[in-house]
C-alpha cells in the first residue's frame, strides 16, 4: 500500500505555484522524511495530504487510494501541524476529551499513560505547558487515535535538543511497535540520519529525489580526486561538485560496483551529506539520464 501517491500534483496560491508537478509514491511502513529549504513546498504537500487544502492540479490519494479529507482518510491519518496548535485555554484532559469526541477511535488509556510518563499534569491548561510538553501532548493526541499514517509538519523545529530527542523517540516507538507509517517534514538534517528510512527531497516546489534511504545511499558515491580532473568525469551522472585547492569531491550517482577512474577514491555517503549536495543543486532533480523524465527518475529510485 502507498500511504501517499501523487501524480502531477500542483498547488497554486494566486499566481505562485507552491508545489509543481509533484509525482511521488511513498510505501507504507516507513518513517519518511520530507526535506527541503523553507518555501520548498513541504507544508503545502502535507496540507494537501491531510485534506487541509485542495490541489490545483494533478491527483493525490492517501492510504492506498483514498481521497484526502474523505472519512476513511481522516480516520486513518493523524496530523500534528507546525507549532503544534492546541486550544490554549483547555486543559490536557479536555484536549483528550475533545479528541476522543472528534474521532471514531481514541485510546484514552494510551493517551493518559503517555502523559503520565511524561509528567504532564492532566489538569494543566495547554497554554501553560512548556513547548516540549505541548508538542508531546499534540503527539499523544495524534497517536491515541491509532492512525495508520502519522503526519508531522516541522515537529521539532521549535524544541530544545532534549525535547527534540524525546519527541522523536516517541515517534519511532510508535512506528516500530505499532507499525504506524510516518511522514515528517523537517529542515533539521542532522535529526534525519537517526530516524528516517525514506527520504523525499524538495526544492522550489518540486520533488528532487525520493526513495528509501538505504537505496539512495547505495546508489550514490563520493569521489575524491585531483581538482584539475574534476571536469573530465563523465562515466556516471554528477550531482554536485565541491572543489578545494588540491582535491575535488564529486557526488555521483554510482554504486559500489561502478568503476572508479584512476587516481580517484570512492567513499560511501551519509544521508546529511547526500541531502546537502542535492539541496545545493536545486537543478539536480533533472538528473542526467537516458531519456527519462526527472520525476520518473526520482521515484524510480525506490525500486
Amino acid at each position: 500500500m502507498k500511504v501517499i501517491e501523487a501524480a502531477g500534483l500542483g498547488k497554486r496560491f494566486g499566481s505562485t505555484w507552491a508545489l509543481r508537478e509533484c509525482t511521488l509514491a511513498i510505501p507504507d511502513g516507513h518513517v519518511a522524511a520530507l526535506v527541503g529549504p523553507n518555501g520548498a513546498g513541504k507544508t503545502t504537500l502535507l496540507n494537501l495530504a491531510v485534506g487541509l487544502a485542495a490541489p490545483s492540479a494533478g491527483d493525490l490519494s492517501v492510504l492506498g487510494g483514498r481521497r484526502p479529507g474523505s472519512p476513511a482518510a481522516l480516520d486513518g491519518i493523524a496530523f500534528v501541524a507546525q507549532d503544534t496548535p492546541l486550544y490554549k485555554n483547555l486543559s490536557a484532559a479536555d484536549m483528550l476529551h475533545l479528541t476522543r469526541n472528534l474521532n471514531r477511535h481514541f485510546d484514552q488509556g494510551y493517551a493518559e499513560g503517555r502523559l503520565g510518563e511524561l509528567g504532564i499534569p492532566l489538569k494543566r491548561k495547554a497554554g501553560k505547558l512548556s513547548g516540549g510538553q505541548q508538542a508531546q501532548l499534540a503527539l499523544s493526541l495524534a497517536l491515541a487515535r491509532r492512525p495508520r499514517l502519522l503526519v508531522l509538519d516541522e515537529p521539532v523545529a521549535m524544541l530544545d535538543p532534549l525535547a527534540r530527542h524525546d519527541f522523536m523517540a516517541t515517534v519511532l516507538t510508535a512506528a516500530a511497535d505499532d507499525g504506524v507509517s510516518v511522514l515528517l517534514s523537517s529542515h533539521v538534517l542532522a535529526e534525519l540520519e537517526r530516524v528516517a528510512d525514506y527520504l523525499i527531497l524538495m526544492s522550489q516546489g518540486r520533488v528532487q529525489l525520493a526513495g528509501e534511504v538505504d537505496d539512495l545511499l547505495a546508489s550514490h558515491r563520493m569521489l575524491t580526486g585531483p581538482t584539475a580532473e574534476a571536469g573530465n568525469y563523465a562515466e556516471r551522472p554528477v550531482v554536485h561538485v565541491r572543489r578545494a585547492e588540491a582535491q575535488a569531491h564529486l557526488l555521483v550517482r554510482a554504486t559500489a560496483d561502478d568503476p572508479i577512474p584512476r587516481g580517484w577514491e570512492a567513499h560511501p555517503v551519509g544521508l546529511e551529506e547526500l541531502a546537502l549536495a542535492y539541496l545545493r543543486e536545486p537543478g539536480a532533480a533533472a538528473m542526467p539520464g537516458p531519456a527519462r523524465r526527472p520525476e520518473a527518475e526520482a521515484s524510480e529510485v525506490t525500486k
Binding site: P71, L74, D75, A81, Q82, P85, L86, H105
Partner: protein
C-alpha cells in the same frame, strides 16, 4: 505486535467499506466545552439587559395605567401623560435594543471560525476524524440555534415592554403611540428579532472564515449587519405587500403611512396643503388658524373636501403586522441558511 497488526488489517479494510462518519451528537460536548465561556458571557449580558428592561417595563406599565385611568379633569393628569410619553426615551425609542442582534452576531458568530484560523487550531480541528466541513456545519448550526432561541425569548420581553405604546384608542389623551411598523420597534417584536440575530450570527460566521482574524471579522460583521438592517428598514420592508389606498382622512395612528395626496375628479391634484393651488388656499384662508399661525390640518382638509378635493392615503394597516413579520423572518432565515451553506461550502472546497 507485527503479527497482531497483520491479523487486524483485513478486518480494518472491511470496516472501512462501510465507514460511517463520526456521529453528529459528539459535537454537542465540543461546542459546549469550547464556547461555554463565550456563551456564558452573552447569557450574563442578556440577562442583565432583560432584568433592566423588566424593571423599566414595570414602571412603564404602571405609568400607562396611571395615565389611562386618570380623570382628564384632574390637574395631575397632564403630568402623568407626559411621564408616560417620556419613558419611551429610556431605550431611545427602541433603537438601543436593535444593537443586540448585531452584537450577538459579531461577538458570537465572527470568532467561531476566525479564532481557529487566527490561532492555527483549525489544523487540529479540521484534521480529526469528524471532518472539517462537518465540524463547521455542526458548530454554526448548533450555536445559531442557541443564539436564535435566546433572542426569541428576549423579544417576548420586548413585546411586553412596548405593549403600552402600541395600545390604540387613547389618542384623545395624547398618549404617545407607536406604529407596530415603526422602524424602531418592528424588528424588536414577533419573529423578526430572532431572525435578525440569526442573520447577524451567519454573517459573522462567513466574515470570520473569509477574513480569518477575529477583530477585523467583528468589525466587518457589524458593518455588514448595519448596512443590511438600514436597507431593509428604509427600502425593502415597505414593498413586502402592496400598500392599501383609502379616502378616509382618519387613518389610524397604528398604520404605516407612506404618502398622502389630493385628487380632484379622479386626477392627481397636489400633495400637501403647501402645494395646494393658490386660489384654493385663499378660499380656505378664512378658516380658523391653529397654533404657530398655520391653518390646522383638520379644518383645512374639511375646506379642501368642500371644494371637491379628495385626500388619498397609501398605507400598511397594523393588521398586516404578522404578515410582515413572517415575510421578514422568512427571507432572513433563507439568507442565514444560504450564508451558513456558503461558509460550509468554502471550508469544504478549501479543505477538500
Amino acid at each position: 505486535m507485527t503479527a497482531l497488526t497483520a491479523l487486524t488489517a483485513p478486518t480494518r479494510l472491511e470496516a472501512e467499506a462501510t465507514l460511517r462518519p463520526v456521529p453528529w451528537r459528539r459535537m454537542a460536548w465540543v461546542i459546549w466545552r469550547q464556547h461555554r465561556v463565550g456563551l456564558g458571557a452573552v447569557a450574563a449580558a442578556l440577562s442583565a439587559l432583560a432584568v433592566y428592561v423588566w424593571i423599566v417595563g414595570l414602571q412603564l406599565h404602571h405609568a400607562y395605567v396611571a395615565a389611562t385611568t386618570c380623570n382628564p379633569a384632574s390637574p395631575v393628569c397632564g403630568g402623568l401623560i407626559t411621564h408616560f410619553n417620556f419613558m419611551n426615551h429610556v431605550l431611545v425609542g427602541g433603537y438601543t435594543l436593535q444593537l443586540v442582534p448585531a452584537l450577538i452576531g459579531a461577538f458570537v458568530g465572527a470568532p467561531v471560525l476566525a479564532r481557529e484560523l487566527e490561532t492555527g487550531t483549525f489544523r487540529y480541528a479540521w484534521t480529526q476524524g469528524f471532518g472539517g466541513w462537518r465540524w463547521t456545519l455542526a458548530k454554526l448550526v448548533g450555536l445559531a440555534v442557541v443564539v436564535t432561541a435566546a433572542a426569541g425569548a428576549l423579544s417576548l420581553l420586548f413585546s411586553w415592554y412596548y405593549q403600552p405604546y402600541l395600545a390604540t384608542g387613547h389618542q384623545a389623551l395624547s398618549l404617545s403611540e407607536e406604529s407596530p411598523f415603526s422602524s424602531a420597534l418592528f424588528d424588536l417584536r414577533g419573529v423578526a428579532f430572532a431572525a435578525w440575530t440569526l442573520v447577524a450570527f451567519a454573517i459573522g460566521g462567513l466574515a470570520g472564515l473569509l477574513i480569518r482574524r477575529v477583530v477585523p471579522a467583528i468589525v466587518a460583521t457589524l458593518a455588514a449587519y448595519t448596512g443590511l438592517a438600514l436597507v431593509t428598514a428604509n427600502l425593502l420592508r415597505q414593498h413586502y405587500l402592496t400598500p392599501l389606498l383609502t379616502t378616509n382622512p382618519n387613518v389610524p395612528g397604528s398604520a404605516w403611512i407612506f404618502s398622502q395626496w389630493w385628487t380632484k375628479g379622479g386626477k392627481f391634484a397636489f400633495f400637501g396643503w403647501r402645494d395646494a393651488p393658490h386660489n384654493l388656499v385663499q378660499q380656505c384662508a378664512s378658516i380658523p388658524v391653529g397654533p404657530l399661525g398655520k391653518p390646522s390640518q383638520g379644518t383645512l382638509a374639511q375646506c379642501f373636501a368642500q371644494h371637491g378635493y379628495t385626500q388619498l392615503t397609501s398605507y400598511q394597516p397594523a393588521s398586516r403586522f404578522w404578515a410582515f413579520q413572517w415575510i421578514e423572518g422568512g427571507w432572513l432565515l433563507a439568507l442565514s441558511v444560504l450564508l451558513i451553506a456558503v461558509t460550509v461550502w468554502v471550508v469544504r472546497r478549501r479543505a477538500a
